[in-house]
């Protein structure tokens, strides 16, 4: 564990080990102080945890898009946050229409499925166009080239959608069936949070089945393993890559609607930026390129963000703890990368992939 003790002494290793100890100490001391003060009740902690799981589910669904593309192309699609935005922003108009006609509350299950399908298709189309127009011509270029292109594509998409739908904020209408809460003792779990977690799980298991059990999933794994050998085996790798972008896009679009049910406000052309960064962090946390890793990374990040500021920072007496929520999230990232550079579930990457 302590490299500098076993190997030849190195100041770098020593500093990293000191950093590890300090971070772990800060977490333990902060948490101990908060819990011993008892200002926040057990029921409130549980509520925060469940809200974190719901938020984390959305991060996880977006993170899957990053990880799928990385797994197959070894590129970070920084425009993926905008793919999420495209579905969420476009579907808010459908949701408004369904609400106006009364269909949303008369047949909520059907209406939500319709919205998820619509958002998934919009995001899938955007993701496929991105791959076809922006990334495919650059395949084989140095890795920095598609990365910079992705950042450019991200801005292009933001301002295209701003041009299409305007710069104002929109909100998803509230679905009555999701407005209640489940009471378990003193714990009050909002129905919408159960819906978010459950639907994200369904989508995640659907993806897992697709990749592990289906024929196209086998092709995806083969392309991810070695493109040239996969091509020799008769796999149309262009189609597989396009399909992967499409699947990632569909998940992101679905996440857009699920997010709209959970946090209805704040729908605009810029809404994908921060969730995109958080989901990328989640994918790295879990081990980029690893599907269960992205799921776990998303949930982990959501929970840490929800309970971290009140548990650790407030306990350390840091003022404005909630403003430092991102500090907690990214410190966790640093911590995981120090202890496990490959991420929680990631495997050590070969020289080629790293």
């Amino acid at each position: 564990m302590f490299k500098w003790k076993t190997d030849e002494f190195s100041w770098v290793d020593f500093t990293i080990d000191v950093l590890r100890i300090l971070i772990v100490l800060a977490i333990v001391v902060g948490s101990w102080n908060t819990l011993s003060e008892g200002r926040i009740s057990f029921a409130q902690w549980v509520n925060l945890f469940i809200a974190g799981l719901s938020q984390g589910s959305i991060y996880a669904l977006i993170a899957l898009g990053y990880t799928l593309v990385y797994g197959i192309l070894l590129m970070i699609n920084f425009a993926h946050g905008e793919v999420f935005m495209a579905g969420a922003f476009s579907t808010v108009f459908l949701a408004e229409a369904l609400n106006r006609t009364g269909f949303l509350n008369q047949s909520p299950v059907l209406a939500i499925l319709l919205m998820i399908l619509f958002a998934g298709l919009v995001s899938m189309t955007v993701a496929i166009l991105l791959e076809r127009i922006a990334y495919r011509p650059l395949r084989g270029s140095p890795r920095l080239v598609p990365l910079i292109t992705a950042i450019g594509a991200s801005f292009f998409l933001q301002y295209t959608f701003r041009g299409l739908y305007g710069s104002g904020f929109k909100a998803y209408p509230q679905v009555k069936i999701l407005q209640g809460a489940l009471q378990i003792g003193s714990i009050n779990i909002p129905t919408v949070q159960i819906f978010v977690f459950a639907s994200a799980l369904v989508l995640m298991f659907g993806l897992y089945w697709l990749v592990e059990r289906s024929r196209i999933g086998k092709a995806m794994r083969a392309v991810s393993e070695n493109k040239e050998v996969a091509r020799l085996m008769g796999i149309d790798i262009d189609w597989v890559i396009l399909f992967t972008f499409g699947v990632g896009g569909f998940l992101a679009g679905s996440a857009g609607v699920i997010n709209g049910m959970f946090r209805p406000q704040g729908v605009n052309f810029f809404m994908g930026f921060i969730p995109g960064i958080k989901a990328f962090t989640a994918a790295v946390l879990g081990g980029i390129g690893n599907i269960p890793g992205a799921m776990l990374g998303g949930l982990f990040l959501g929970v840490i963000e929800a309970i971290g500021p009140n548990l650790v920072l407030a306990g350390l007496g840091i003022p404005g703890a909630n403003q430092l929520k991102d500090v907690i999230a990214f410190t966790m990232l640093v911590l995981v990368l120090i202890f496990r550079p490959q991420g929680i579930l990631g495997e050590r990457l070969s020289e080629k992939k790293a």
Binding site: S167, F169, G266, E305, P309, Q323
Partner: protein, 426 residues
């Protein structure tokens, strides 16, 4: 006698020579400049150039769109001309950050024909832009900055005012003090929580409200902050619920304020807490996007009334269709007129047909504004810190209460609950 004749001839020759030389070499525009900050020379047939530093991208683009409409309408109302010259508007994106303001100001001040600018929207952007605009000898007139620090010259107390900065929006100092008076005097509250987002505007307002609330005998139980872009407010709301305040003062922008209000109704312990928002949430999208949770929220915001304003709204409808997306379009209209009026007052036509516009003269002309009948009321620019550069009438503000009509029937603005010209103890 002969000597006198020679002298007369010499003097006459000299006079003739000087007349010829004057006619052949008229006073150049550069020579005509007597301004200690230098002059902007607008050559014959060249347009008069003014700038705008507004937020044109990012989450609060609606503020920039709102102000840009006001600026453009003010120019259109003059048929796009001033002193027989075309008015050219150069618009730069100042974002809603100090870096954005800095970049926009840098680009505008690099243009030697630039006279002054309308902007910025956000106080953070103004802090970045002000030193550059001031150093360049230019002026900036902000339509929606309200941070008290921007008109405060005392650096020790956080002031950042520099010459050349003016605003037609109200000072947050006035808004914050009146908000605290409202919370105690009208609502009868005794425990206050404040939440800002780190922006000088929201932080400044939260500070003033907390200080005034404490001075008036109330107890400030929680002072916290969130980040711009946060969607999850459950964490901070859980912390606030520990103290069960009567008032949550939340001067946040959309969408953070929407998330705050919507999520507050699910947090046990905050059932009786009333939200008061600042001018940033005085936007039709707030009740529309927040839904039922916005009902009962108080929002302080600009109160612009009068026939001229009604006509302005008709013009807006004609040009852009719909209604302005925020509450500071009239302030942008007034700011543009202050700048154009100053140009009109100080521009000197030189012999070569150029317009010579003294930079200090422009500043002085705007600073001398007194009882100017603008859309937002009677504007008088003040010179003394902490209100240096403040031109807004402090009374054009009110506390509005969001009702069902704003949430479900697209009514905007909401009914005035309490005007700032009233006494809180009434």
């Amino acid at each position: 006698m002969k000597r006198i004749n020679v002298m007369k001839k010499t003097v006459a020759s000299l006079l003739l020579l000087s007349l010829v030389s004057v006619l052949l070499n008229p006073v150049s525009a550069e020579d005509a400049c007597r301004d200690n900050l230098g002059c902007v020379i607008v050559a014959e047939d060249e347009p008069i150039v003014i700038g705008a530093m507004l937020v044109l991208s990012g989450a609060v683009t609606y503020l920039g769109d709102d102000s840009l409409g006001g600026v453009e309408l003010a120019i259109m109302d003059r048929d796009g001309e001033l002193l027989g010259r075309e008015i050219e508007l150069v618009v730069e994106d100042s974002l809603c950050s100090a870096e954005g303001g800095q970049a926009a100001a840098q680009r505008l001040s690099a243009d030697p024909t630039m006279i002054g600018a309308i902007g910025t929207n956000c106080s953070s952007a103004a802090q970045g832009a002000m030193p550059i605009i001031s150093d360049a000898g230019l002026v900036m007139i902000a339509p929606s900055n309200t941070s008290p620090s921007l008109t405060n010259e005392d650096v020790a107390s956080g002031g950042s005012h520099l010459p050349g900065y003016f605003r037609t929006s109200h000072n947050g100092l006035v808004e914050g003090m009146r908000n605290a008076e409202f919370a105690i005097g009208v609502l009868g509250s005794s425990k206050l929580a404040t939440v800002h987002d780190g922006d000088p505007y929201t932080e400044g307002l939260a500070r003033v409200v907390a200080d005034t609330f404490a001075e008036l005998g109330g107890e400030v139980v929680f002072e916290g902050a969130v980040n711009k872009g946060d969607t999850d407010m459950a964490s901070i709301l859980t912390e606030i619920a520990v103290y069960q305040p009567d008032i949550a003062y939340v001067p946040l922008f959309e969408p953070e304020v929407n998330f705050f209000a919507a999520q507050m109704q699910h947090i046990a312990g905050l059932e009786d807490t009333v939200i008061i928002g600042g001018g940033a949430s005085f936007v039709a999208g707030f009740p529309e996007n927040t839904g039922a949770a916005a009902i009962g929220v108080f929002v302080s915001g600009p109160l612009v009334t009068g026939e001229a304003y009604e006509q302005f709204l008709v013009r807006w409808e004609e040009e852009y269709s719909g209604s302005p997306p925020s509450g500071y379009h009239a302030h942008a209209y007034d700011a543009t007129n202050l700048l154009l009026n100053a140009v009109e007052a100080v521009a000197v036509r030189s012999d070569d047909g150029s317009l010579v516009i003294g930079k200090q003269a422009i500043r002085d002309a705007i600073a001398a504004t007194e009882d100017y009948p603008g859309l937002t009321g009677s504007l008088t620019c003040q010179e003394e810190s902490p209100f240096a550069g403040d031109c807004a009438p402090g009374t054009a503000l009110a506390m509005f209460e969001i009702t069902e009509a704003e949430v479900y029937d697209d009514n905007w603005p909401p009914p005035v609950f309490w005007s700032f010209s009233e006494s809180a103890s009434e």
